[in-house]
Symmetry: C2
Subunit: 257 residues, 2 copies
Amino acid sequence: MRNALTRRLEEYTALTDTDRRELARLSEQSMHIVQPRRDLLREGGAPRSLYLIVEGWGCHYRTLENGRRQIVDFAIPGDLCDLNLFILDRMDHSVGAITRMKVAEISREVFRRVVTTSPNITTALWWQELVSKSIHREWIVNIGQRNALERIAHLLCEMFLRLESVGLTYGFSCDFPPTQNDIADATGLTSVHVNRSIQELRRRGLISLERQMLTIPNMLALQQVGLFNPEYLHHRMLDRHTDFGRTEQGLLDGTDG
Amino acid sequence: MRNALTRRLEEYTALTDTDRRELARLSEQSMHIVQPRRDLLREGGAPRSLYLIVEGWGCHYRTLENGRRQIVDFAIPGDLCDLNLFILDRMDHSVGAITRMKVAEISREVFRRVVTTSPNITTALWWQELVSKSIHREWIVNIGQRNALERIAHLLCEMFLRLESVGLTYGFSCDFPPTQNDIADATGLTSVHVNRSIQELRRRGLISLERQMLTIPNMLALQQVGLFNPEYLHHRMLDRHTDFGRTEQGLLDGTDG
DNA sequence: CGTTCAGTTGACCATGATCAAGAGTGGTGG
DNA sequence: CCACCACTCTTGATCATGGTCAACTGAACG
């Protein structure tokens, strides 16, 4: 059984056995447990290590002066949070635990060694960074352009596919620990409205969601409701789920001059 | 006079004269003109070069099946769009021109040479990448948590500071070519509502905006309206504008295990 | 078995969307 | 130089999505 990070990076690139061993060793660094609803990293802080999520769910979030909170991404096993610290001075957001999380602390030195010795891994890590940037873009689109029902459908599709890519789905189901309040903070809605929208999705038979267990009996149907197009996840193996058959409209870039 | 890219990167790191010459040469690569409202890069395309914006404004955007458009970032001189192509297969969004744009096309080879010979520049480029990711996060917060007036105030603050960091402001003023429709697509509002909000900002004496010329007579006042905290831009020289004096709440990360 | 937290429901409200029409503004060609 | 066209900005009237407030239910955990 490959670990989540290895699985995740292999979504992008072919790793050698040496790479795999190297990655396995990364995850065996000093382990930490973060209790539910505690922070792993705090906005304004200057962490000295890198953290790899090995188990559990977390979220990246920012808070405003007026107390409102916006979750800007969820963090699941295989995710790093984040490469920031080698370049940026301070955390510009916080990372908190949703469930009990197991994280591997990777020191700068160890990380630097990997980067200098394994070009494959380095590229794969930057790939992860760029993909998560693409996910950010999609969240902007989600919150800016979709209505409540669509937003939630979209979020559920995204998380299901992301979990699938690290082997954390079981058939049509997966764990889904965020509360309706978390979903509200991630979609820019209120928990009351999230509640009503989820009931609507249930009523339509698109999802079942109870006791932190999400089931999507018909992924394509849910994708259609959420105007979901998985391209932005840049997974290699997503053909299974490709809903919209990528109409080959003029794909050339139109520089003129 | 340093060019915009140099200025921008020096926001992060100290460059040597060699670095500067290298950067200047980058901008002298084959130049292209993109006419207003034309696309430089199209979603789904697989560009073979990197583009550096030398003059004019553009925007990164995605479109949905239902025709709606979300601008996920603006692009101004000194911005690269983007490092994607060396790692990700295809563009997951489009880049279009708002004004007439002058862009420098940088071939993969040239870029690769720079990356292998100038570690300073390489790090600075990744810095730019991470900062733009942080900007994405802030846009999620902006659209998810702020009301119309706040969103627009926030956007204006951000763009002013970004322009300032590449030397494109004149006192309290700068060019601001996006139409109210563009602002609507960037903030997830309708142009009608953008119009009314802008009038409200004008009425309060917070901005003047006419003929693509933006003036912010009192930056701190506008920042307060927009709940704007410039930290996320990771500029070195932003102390001038630091409104909220970064209350030193527990900055340590709270791992417990 | 009580406390806590997540989920649920109802009544009412407000922000911002929609639709539609009209006023400036700038550019183009006759 | 003027007429026309296109585009952006502006305004008004009405509507709807989603927010707010508050109470209640139910499950989980000690």
